[in-house]
């Protein structure tokens, strides 16, 4: 392992260097230096901090709930990050053999009804192409990263030809610049793995498979672009509590907002939970106590039970929501 001590190219002062340094700033003369990670990195340039603050206040003024309390809100912090992401373009071919469980109701010549469960072999092949964007981090926990990746995907696709190069831009960004945890070669493998996993799940759902006997999936990454994308996180104080909202630093659009939970919203959640529970009781009682379930065939009965489980989790979700500390808006 080599440890190097960096000196400012402008004034010669020693610069603190960490294993993850990408852009280093001299504390004495303010000179910025971009350290090339060994591959060409592009940048979606961020709006500046004052512009982001303006966007935050506009958002608050236009919010139906929060605009009533605009005088009680104070912006505590506006934190910016350049997040490393990889954009890729892929083409995948797949082939699979699987099994599907089917229930069949048959009426024989004497008029008796029997239900049989059968396993049917299903096999098919196909292809898929598309694009995908993922953070180049092993682990990251900023608010709204997934939404950011989703939003920048189309931006990168549009501007692919004229993206700014990392070494050519002025790095006077007032925030943190996160390092790339993977190089393009490593990321290619990760993309292949994740896309194949996605295709596997898609196939399972699309064909209703209970088991996959064989799946062969060839993912071909046609193009891979490392890009720095900006995210800004605003922390605001409201009634002594701190909440955050994250914004796309390129377009200024909101990614995820954490908002206070008001009493009226808690009551609404309880009411919703109550209504769903009543509906559930009604359905269960009418089905099992009137003997209706004896006349239904297995397939419909299974569907019915699934529906009941969905309803029960919905009512529990609303009940849980009534006691949440904050509301998340995406």
């Amino acid at each position: 392992m080599e440890v190097e001590v960096y000196k400012c190219k402008n004034c010669g002062a020693p610069i603190e260097y960490t294993p993850d340094s990408i852009v280093i700033k001299c504390n004495y003369c303010g000179y910025y230096e971009y350290l090339n990670p060994g591959f060409q990195v592009f940048v979606l340039e961020s709006l500046d901090k004052s512009k982001m603050e303006e966007i935050f206040w506009n958002r608050m003024r236009n919010d139906s709930q929060m605009k009533k309390y605009i005088n009680e809100i104070s912006l505590e912090q506006m934190e910016g990050f350049y997040v490393p992401v990889y954009y890729c373009n892929y083409f995948a071919e797949y082939f699979f053999i699987g099994e599907k469980v089917v229930t069949r109701t048959v009426r024989n010549s004497k008029g008796r009804v029997t239900t049989r469960i059968e396993r049917i072999k299903v096999s098919d092949e196909g292809e898929k192409s598309g694009s995908k964007t993922l953070p180049a981090k092993k682990y990251i926990e900023e608010l709204g990263i997934k939404e950011l990746c989703f939003q920048v995907e189309s931006l990168i696709e549009l501007e692919k030809a004229n993206l700014a190069k990392a070494e050519e831009i002025k790095w006077n960004f007032k925030g943190e610049i996160l390092a790339f945890d993977f190089n393009p070669e490593e990321m290619k493998k990760i993309f292949e793995d994740i896309i194949a996993e996605e295709i596997k799940n898609e196939i399972k759902n699309k064909y209703g498979l209970s088991e996959i006997k064989i799946l062969s999936c060839n993912v071909n990454i046609k193009e891979i672009i490392p890009v720095y994308v900006p995210i800004w996180i605003a922390s605001y104080k409201f009634k002594d509590m701190i909440y955050s909202i994250s914004f796309n630093g390129k377009t200024g659009s909101q990614l995820v907002a954490m908002e206070p939970m008001f009493k009226s919203q808690r009551i609404l959640s309880v009411i919703l939970s109550s209504i769903i529970t009543v509906l559930l009781t009604f359905m269960l009682s009418s089905l099992f106590l009137s003997g209706l379930f004896l006349f239904l065939n297995t397939e419909i009965l299974i569907l019915f039970l699934i529906f009941i489980i969905i309803l029960l989790s919905a009512s529990m979700y609303f009940m849980n929501r009534a006691f949440k500390g904050e509301r998340i808006e995406r």
Binding site: E2, V3, G144, I190, I212, L289
Partner: protein, 324 residues
């Protein structure tokens, strides 16, 4: 356990803990390699100091449901400890094949290849019971720095007790398990493990705050990530008014559903009651418990990063470990 060395830049003498591969001179800030044979050691900076972290904790707790209005004015900090915990980091890769013999499904037989890659964090020292909760979290690698001896004097410092081999072993077992799971979900043939590769990425020291505080004589405790101020665990006392609200909420779910059920007779009454109780169960901790636990929710994203739990008993010769 400490070692006296000389700085390569300013020639000052200073002490470092034993087995530290990288040292930073406390006088000139120069970082250099002490022993090239030993693996890399990193640490994470404490970005939230004791005063900042308590303020952060109070603001977080205040955001929760049913916190008394006088919580901030009546809560006192009674103590805090900074825990610097070492984790082994290992990158593991496993390759396998799923094979069909000739004639079963394919006339010529079939072989499918599989790869599983993961990054594992393994505590390098036994965790005290009050900190076991930490194994449920993953940590970022942002802000990682080369090890500085001064962290050994900041708070409680844990010595590395489990060696590299042990960590590699755990990661090997885990990656094999994940690979087999992967193969079984996509192929029903015979699974064969081809090879397992592990790469040791070094030791990382991660700081956590354990905060002790009191509200009206009730002793409370919290654990906070000292690098980003994230509240991993905290406790507060619920306000009686909030408990009343929770009880009312539970009743307003249980009673209507019981009434509707009763229309269908006694069986319906039982179904209505049961469904009502089940639906309103999220409110029970708020009704029956005085001390409420809360943690900060974060949106996370990770690529195959895994936090491995330490097995309950550690013996050097284990081969068959079961992960829950």
């Amino acid at each position: 356990m400490s070692l006296e060395i000389k700085c390569e830049n300013c020639f000052a003498d200073f002490k470092i803990p034993h087995k530290v591969p990288v040292a930073t001179c406390p006088y000139c800030g120069y970082t250099f390699v002490v022993d090239k044979n030993i693996t890399e050691i990193y640490y994470f900076k404490v970005n939230f100091d004791s005063s900042k972290v308590f303020e952060k904790l109070l603001r977080f707790i205040l955001r929760n449901f049913g916190v008394p209005k006088d919580f901030i004015s009546n809560t006192y900090l009674t103590g805090y400890t900074l825990h610097y915990i070492p984790f082994h980091t290992v990158k593991a890769e496993a390759k396998g094949i799923c094979e069909y013999k000739e004639g079963i499904i394919f006339r010529k037989g079939y072989k499918g290849k599989f790869i599983q890659v993961l990054d594992a964090y393994i505590p390098a020292s036994p965790l005290p019971i009050n900190l076991e909760i930490l194994t449920r979290f993953k940590f970022g690698l942002r802000g990682r720095e080369y090890f500085k001896p001064r962290i050994t004097k900041m708070g409680k410092y844990y010595l590395v007790q489990y060696d590299k081999e042990y960590a590699l072993n755990l990661a090997r077992i885990k990656v094999q398990e994940e690979l087999m799971k992967d193969i079984r979900s996509a192929c029903a043939g015979r699974e064969i493990l081809e090879e397992i590769k592990t790469e040791y990425l070094g030791i990382t020291y991660y700081p956590f705050w354990e905060i002790f505080y009191q509200y009206k004589g009730e002793k409370l405790r919290a654990i906070i990530d000292a690098t980003n101020g994230r509240v991993l665990y905290s406790e507060y006392i619920i306000d009686p008014k909030a408990r009343k609200f929770a009880s009312l909420a539970a009743i307003s779910v249980i009673i209507p559903s019981t009434i509707i059920g009763s229309i269908f007779g006694f069986g319906g009454f039982v179904i209505g009651l049961l469904v009502g109780i089940l639906s309103s169960s999220p409110s029970f901790p708020k009704i029956f418990k005085k001390k409420i636990k809360a943690k900060e929710e974060f949106t996370e994203f990770d690529i195959r990063t895994i936090m491995l739990k330490l097995p309950k008993t550690y013996s050097k010769g284990f081969k068959f470990l079961i992960f829950r």
